[in-house]
Symmetry: C2
Subunit: 377 residues, 2 copies
Amino acid sequence: MSSMNNVIDFDEVSGILVCEAGCILENLISFLDNQGFIMPLDLGAKGSCQIGGNVSTNAGGLRLIRYGSLHGTVLGLEAVLANGNVLDMLGTLRKDNTGYDLKHLFIGSEGSLGIVTKVSILTPPKLSSVNIAFLACKDYLSCQRLLLEAKRKLGEILSAFEFLDSEAMDLVLNHLEGIRNPLPPSMHNFYVLIETTGSDEAYDKEKLEAFLLRSMESGLISDGVLAQDINQASSFWRIREGIPEALMRAGPVYKYDLSLPVENMYNLVEDMRVRLAEKAKVVGYGHLGDGNLHLNISAPQYDDMILAKIEPYVYEWTSKHRGSISAEHGLGLMKANKIFYSKSHETVQVMASIKKLLDPNGILNPYKVLPHSLTSY
Amino acid sequence: MSSMNNVIDFDEVSGILVCEAGCILENLISFLDNQGFIMPLDLGAKGSCQIGGNVSTNAGGLRLIRYGSLHGTVLGLEAVLANGNVLDMLGTLRKDNTGYDLKHLFIGSEGSLGIVTKVSILTPPKLSSVNIAFLACKDYLSCQRLLLEAKRKLGEILSAFEFLDSEAMDLVLNHLEGIRNPLPPSMHNFYVLIETTGSDEAYDKEKLEAFLLRSMESGLISDGVLAQDINQASSFWRIREGIPEALMRAGPVYKYDLSLPVENMYNLVEDMRVRLAEKAKVVGYGHLGDGNLHLNISAPQYDDMILAKIEPYVYEWTSKHRGSISAEHGLGLMKANKIFYSKSHETVQVMASIKKLLDPNGILNPYKVLPHSLTSY
């Protein structure tokens, strides 16, 4: 889609952007920056990913806790169906209750129902004040209680709540250069990164400082530091965003992207440590505010014995807790047959019948998303 | 559904409520209030409407500008299909990219694809500070510019931006008791109600005051008043919410609920005044922040000559500007055949084929939503 890379329209009163599907996310971010707006999603791959792909895969990323998912922010789209018909659903309206809202079928279906060619999306105004704190918690329960307090006390300015465990921190410190732990080295079990975004620098900072002070006094956090400038802010984000790279450098890694109820999310990491004992290092981090755990298992080498300890256990565990075996990364080719861990048979049957309706010959992204048993042509 | 009125679960860390479809919206609001949370939607009918109906009709209401549509806040649902199958999509996850997100088919399809029986919804924490201002603008362009400024300057605390024209104000003053114009009587053409919701009373009020002062100085608003207590706040809302009742008391009324691009939304009201001249009173008001115009035409009596001046003109006008002929109220029985004003033929064809797939005998809410030509059984 890379040739379809034009911005079609931007309305600064409503903040609605209309563009072609091949626009690179980072280019859209720059375009909007000049107009005083931001994209409602942001992710590490912004320099190369295209907005059509973001929509087709229902990309999540770092701003979901504040601005919600693409099902809420995408107002319209144009898609080309398998039979060549162009579905023009490129509305720019916040409210439209005329018939079924079919655009949602194309958000997150990984191109298997149609190819997204144009997108209309609601963009929030850019707020000038961003503050970032890096905190330590003694246990997972404290992280959860801190999240609840942050939602209440920081309310409308909370824009990120990320967590990592001490194993993730060790990996980053050992495998990436130029990174140091901003908190005095001691035995912290969990780290939390909190970001606030608002429209008033002095007030927002004061609010975050008061929140940190109260959390320290009540024992919810055992240590913490507030970024004093943009360089320090970037260095805090670099720890969180550097984890995948650190894992890659550490050697073979088994990666899982799960949604789980926040309260028992970390139990899976601990259960997995018991199962694997000394055979591998189990790392837990992710978007705590969205209930999204990145479970990564770093092993000395790829080993079927290790894999057999992990799968299907991790999927069964997730399924038992009504979680999602793919929070943001989709099913693709590798997980198409694992859909039943997160979706009921009746639901998958309806998905397959919709696939058959819109793409009877299975020419759109074949073998992906739906289990092979249901999509044989 | 009224017997299915139980709250199933509420998780205060994530703010996720799971309940049966027959729960009355106001009961859910009270239930959450005790936990320190609010429903992400609010509407006049809250005392009798059920959450399952809200979801099935994709209800909009007063909080949409802040919390977005139900497509963003409903995390999961259970629906019973025409063949009796129960589709369990009652996830409580903010992120789940395992297959097509079918729940969206049931949000806003007015019960024609299945009956919603359970709902899981993300609820925001209750914020303690609410401030309301009632303002006057000399023209529609000023209202638009004020909206843009409000989004920028009030940013994260803006929770409502409603407008009414002087004809709507006159109707309320003439037909409802105990209502007075909070601004000194003079020739204002437009009124705007702005609400902010945040977590800090003193700061939020100061912010709104500074915004009003600047807007007054720059001439965007010609007059304005900030509610000093909860009674005055209610009296401001009463003006805006009293318009439908005032219209009903004034006599026969033709009602249209339209979404239009904000910049030319009010042109329709003015065009309609020219067309109808002295025959009827044309009133414009609505959720300006969402681009949602309630166009109401108050006539001395129901009259086919008047109707012929209004329709199909109002639909054609809306269609030409890529608006929606039903922003929040749905199509139902009366507007099913008017769907093509807002949706392309290809899109409606796909809707009809999905209806046929899920409800081959047309037993669910027959004759509604889709045009009769496409749903003959």
